[in-house]
Subunit: 520 residues, 2 copies
């Protein structure tokens, strides 16, 4: 059994011991240069593969494969685009009703200042309690970019086999409903679950989870008694490797807007473009304000102190990165993303270090003035950009925003309006935690190749559990999906013969094992 | 009779005799500093007010006021948004049919590589021939910004009196159809016109007139025999002053697009925003490419040589500016535009100089990535901006574009794609031309205050006549309108009692006088 740890997609790195993050210089702006501190790799041979079989439950799953696909399709055909408030409440009610049907004694919506959360409690009458984090919202879509309509959830042919294509197929309704299928199957065969389950779901993950703390608040004392948190997750890549992610970056999301005012520019409406000769332009204003934030290549953040607080990786993180370096495949990932090179032509460990330990300043969208076909000659009175910053541990979203505001002010851009749309800090769980070790034992039962990543470059509000509640969080599950936040999102349901990835039935069986492994 | 020349909106200036335009410096970029060369003002007392009356025609106009308003409404209710190809062909046919009904012996569509032109010829069997330039297209609209729907052409109450509110009301269908009403009235009363008329209309003025040269080409030899060109125009401001414009700036209009490619960035579709840590951003790329084009305040063009060829004003232009300086009212214009200050806090003659002699680089629109409500965390693969540059005489659109391209290349932005959407050079007519003097004699018959502007900051494809055909061009006409290229565009039809501006009947009577003045 191979136990090297491929790091195809995501990894982490160690801060060079005595090298503090440098303050960016105006003449030659630089990001801090992180390097690994140890050559040692984490030893996964100590993990014993999970040995039990639950054949009666497995058989039940095989017998109900079509019902279980249908249950996922039912979720995917219900739009729940949080950014556009499309179908969100209907999806919350669908989730709540499903928990009730499965046998949760408590299943209720949780009011927040935004979209509601959903709470469920299944009392198995035992000591061990697992919290399950679910997000029931999805990203917006451009239907014209899709091969099959994003809310039809059709089964379509894919080079890897049969897939369900829909917004949310893999991010995150597909694996989440697969997990509930596993719970249903255990109850159907064994009469009850071997652990208590608390479901704490939100409908605003794609908005940056601005109100999830209110869901946690409402059940804080009960959640604190749990033993660990599961985030159901399609963690395989097409070669069968299972990824396990122990940390996420935080995020800050805001809009920057320039509007005419005392500084100049039209303040109420667009004016004829010929006035540019004597009237300042809010669009130029936005372009210039954005431009001061980064180096000429757009890749180094020039906001003073932005890199100061970044926490160096622990010894454990360094070992996990080393354990996975062997399987770095930049070319493959670049092909998937249609990207010809990484920033500064970094590769291998250097690219992993950049990906996991650098904060970002990314323009998600920019708009102003006339953006349709053809010609319109106007001087717009306002222009805006959506900006997000991914935050490694040690960079707090509110501190980050304060530093950006202060730098804009110091650069003369006091008129630029900033509207915060969301933000939360990073999260980290230790590989040595019993819940992580239980998850590892299950995946090693089924797969040779397991990649344990100390962190991914993406974000999720896991700090609510790891930082606020002090609980370990394990995003785990077999299976494959792709296209999150993009057109043609899919989850693999029935792999082609030569594809070593779990199909839906296998995904559910592994969740069954995880529930039992945790109960022991 | 007062004959000072107020310059409320627009004016011109003289290049300081021995001060060549300076090449912008990187450290302290500067625009060339133009100053007036003479304190003398043009002497308008030599113009004799037009003395004849055509009472029978005036009476006919008064008797048909409602029909004439209805004719304008008919034109305005036919959308003709060239940028969106909305109703353009229908409007061309409407214009053609109207020419036929009025009595033009020739009235036909003129195929071009874009929207068709319209040609009309009225043979009066006389020596004198007037060309009438018409544009039958209009700017796009955002209907939600309008008080009355933009293609309803309703008569609404305005502080100045009864107005027609519609896209195209003043720019340019309103005054154009008023001119045709005048022709109809002369023919109805006198049996025929006293001059031959050639109509050379286009449907792409708002696109930068990319194919108008093909309309001119088709009738070049005949057009060349004419004596002058009229552009019907609501030239009054609310205090009754009549503006006469003898020149326009040229324009260059293009799109700049950044897309992922060999330089970096995703090339096919947006990717997850967290990859910003190792993937270059096309949106940042566009922001940086735009930013190098102008000084930090967005107001000085840093493209080498951009200011080099600007032609100094003639002695005549200087005199015309001086004649109008007395009536400069910056505060009033700033209030109309909702602008708190001009660039660099210039006022008076300094502002007029900037407005008329500086080229501009204006961002009409910018877009990329997610621009809807809420949060979407993507790294877009492409971003674009629409840019226009207003060109004073001496700055050719193709040369300007070549300089911008060369500067982007030299700055490392060879990947930035430029798509030219239109462009043409500036135009100038002399105040001493007989056609201009005829127009002046008519306006001095009706108004005390006449402002003759050597140039405006806006653009029109008048170079086709002045530069290609060697004909004088006079944009003239009484009446008031506002809101061109903006919401709530109106033309004043029936002024309130204390408003010293011509209503529709008066506008048409002045056109009648102009036709007869020209025939003498």
């Amino acid at each position: 059994m191979h136990r090297y740890l491929p790091m195809t997609l995501i990894a982490a790195l160690t801060l060079s011991a005595c090298q503090p993050p440098s303050v960016p210089e105006v003449s030659a702006p630089q990001r801090p240069a992180f390097t690994l501190t140890t050559d040692e790799a984490y030893d996964f041979s100590v993990v014993e593969p999970y040995a039990d079989d639950h054949q009666a439950v497995y058989d039940y799953i095989d017998a109900h494969e079509f019902d279980h696909v249908a249950a996922i399709q039912r979720w995917l055909r219900q739009p729940s685009v949080s950014a556009q408030n499309d179908g969100v409440l209907e999806m919350a009610e669908l989730l709540r009703g499903d928990l009730e049907s499965i046998g949760f004694q408590e299943a209720e919506l949780v009011p927040t200042d935004g979209h509601p959360g959903v709470w469920g409690y299944y009392d198995a009458g035992v000591e061990k309690t697992l919290v399950v984090y679910l997000m029931y919202d999805v990203q917006p879509v451009n239907p014209e970019d899709w091969q099959s309509p994003p809310f039809d959830a059709e089964i379509v042919d894919h080079k890897l086999g049969k897939v369900i294509m829909a917004r949310g197929a893999t991010n995150q309704k597909g694996p989440e409903r697969a997990f509930l299928n596993a719970l249903e199957s255990i109850i159907a065969v064994d009469g009850k679950l071997p652990v208590n389950i608390m479901v704490a779901a939100e409908g605003e993950e794609e908005l940056g989870s601005p109100h999830y703390h209110q869901v946690i608040d409402a059940y804080y004392d009960r959640l604190k008694t749990a033993d660990g948190v599961l985030f159901p997750f399609n963690s395989q890549v097409p070669d069968g490797t299972i990824n396990m992610i122990l940390g996420v970056k935080g995020i800050l999301y805001f809009e920057m807007t320039a509007t005419g005012g005392d500084w100049g520019g039209p303040s109420k409406a667009e004016i004829h473009g010929s006035y540019k000769a004597i009237v300042d332009s809010p669009v130029w204003r936005l372009v210039k304000a954005l431009s001061v934030l980064t180096s000429p290549d757009g890749n180094t953040i020039l906001v003073p102190g932005y890199y100061d607080g970044i926490r160096p990786p622990t010894e454990e993180e360094s070992q996990l990165i080393n354990a996975g370096l062997e399987q770095m495949d930049d070319a493959h990932l670049q092909e998937i993303l249609s990207v010809s090179r990484w920033v500064d032509d970094k590769t291998g460990a250097d690219a992993v270090i950049e990906l996991l330990y650098q904060p970002t300043l990314n323009i998600d969208g920019i708009w102003g003035g006339y953006t349709e076909e053809g010609v319109k000659t106007i001087l717009p009175h306002t222009a805006s950009a959506k900006v997000d910053s991914r935050l490694p541990p040690g960079l707090d979203p509110d501190e980050a925003l304060a530093k950006i505001r202060a730098f804009l002010d110091a650069s003369g851009f006091t008129d630029i309006e900033i509207r915060k749309l969301g933000g939360y800090p990073a999260s980290q769980t230790s590989v040595d935690d019993p819940a992580v070790q239980a998850a590892l034992s299950v995946v090693f039962k089924y797969a040779n190749d397991v990649a344990v990543k100390p962190r991914v470059a993406g974000s999720a509000p896991f700090y609510q559990f790891t930082e606020r509640l002090g609980l370990p969080l394990v995003p785990t599950g077999m299976g494959f999906g792709t296209g999150a936040h993009a057109p043609n999102e899919v989850m693999l349901i029935k792999p082609a013969e030569d594809v070593p990835v779990a199909g839906l039935a296998q995904i559910e069986k592994a969740y069954v094992d995880f529930i039992y492994a945790l109960s022991e």
